[in-house]
């Protein structure tokens, strides 16, 4: 599995766009980039996955440059309820699914202030 590096913490204010970047220099050809979100006192939950370019869903957007050595999770107009830890994971298409366990780093603790 490719090693990932992301900031330990970030602060933001309500209504701002937040971008969290993850570095994964050793990403393999078959690897996908997946982001999980963990609210306080809850288990992690899948929020978005991508392979290249841009992926968008109702929660976030994921930007992946052509070299795929990094990725950026973008949260539009954050609210207080977006305060959580965000984990970047890299693995093959089925990583973390029913076939195998997830390996989490420390993640990025996002604090949204009023």
């Amino acid at each position: 599995l490719a090693k990932t590096t992301q900031p330990i913490s970030m602060d933001s204010y309500e209504g701002q766009e937040v971008n969290i970047t993850c570095s994964h220099n050793n990403i393999a050809t078959n690897d996908y980039i997946t982001w999980y979100q963990q609210f306080p006192s809850q288990g992690p939950r899948f929020i978005i996955q991508g392979y290249k370019t841009k992926v968008t869903n109702e929660v976030a957007s994921l930007f992946i440059p052509a070299d795929r050595k990094s990725s950026t999770l973008s949260l539009p107009r954050v609210s207080l309820s977006d305060t959580a830890v965000y984990y970047c994971l890299v693995g093959d298409r089925y990583y973390g699914g029913s076939q195998g366990n997830l390996i989490f780093g420390k993640g990025t603790k996002l604090s949204v202030k009023p």
């Binding site: 006192s41 809850q42 288990g43 992690p44 939950r45 899948f46 830890v85 984990y87 298409r93 089925y94 973390g96 699914g97 029913s98 076939q99 195998g100 366990n101 997830l102 390996i103 989490f104 780093g105 420390k106 993640g107």
Partner: protein, 117 residues
């Protein structure tokens, strides 16, 4: 529908006591995972079941940790002779399983916070 549930949500044990943590996966989910999350860290894998079969227990930190899923649904994680270093949140996750070419997302429960005093 109902998600993954875990009980108790909080458990305080004195060092040396045995504890049992329960996980009720989403109905019909074949795969079940246990993770341990220390304060300020990401979750770490403990063990994996497919139905009642424990296919991977490589993450269990010692032989004091034991997990079972006898009927392929509810699972119990048991810790014998608890130590202070066992204090953590224990998370359970479940997922569907079937076509090896299909990605089945893991759904996590809220966890059980174990404090060993």
């Amino acid at each position: 529908g109902a998600g993954v549930s875990q009980s108790p949500r909080y458990k305080v044990a004195k060092r040396g006591q045995d504890v049992a943590l329960r996980c009720d996966p989403i109905s019909g989910h074949v795969s079940l995972f246990w993770y341990q999350q220390a304060l300020g860290q990401g979750p770490e894998f403990l063990t994996y079941f497919q139905n009642e079969a424990q296919l991977d227990k490589s993450g269990l930190p010692s032989d004091r940790f034991f997990a079972e899923r006898p009927e392929g649904s509810v699972s119990t994680l048991k810790i014998q002779r608890t130590q202070q270093e066992d204090s953590a949140v224990y998370l359970c996750a479940s997922s569907l399983w079937g076509d090896p070419g299909t990605y089945y997302e893991q759904y996590f429960g809220p966890g059980t916070r174990l404090t060993v005093t």
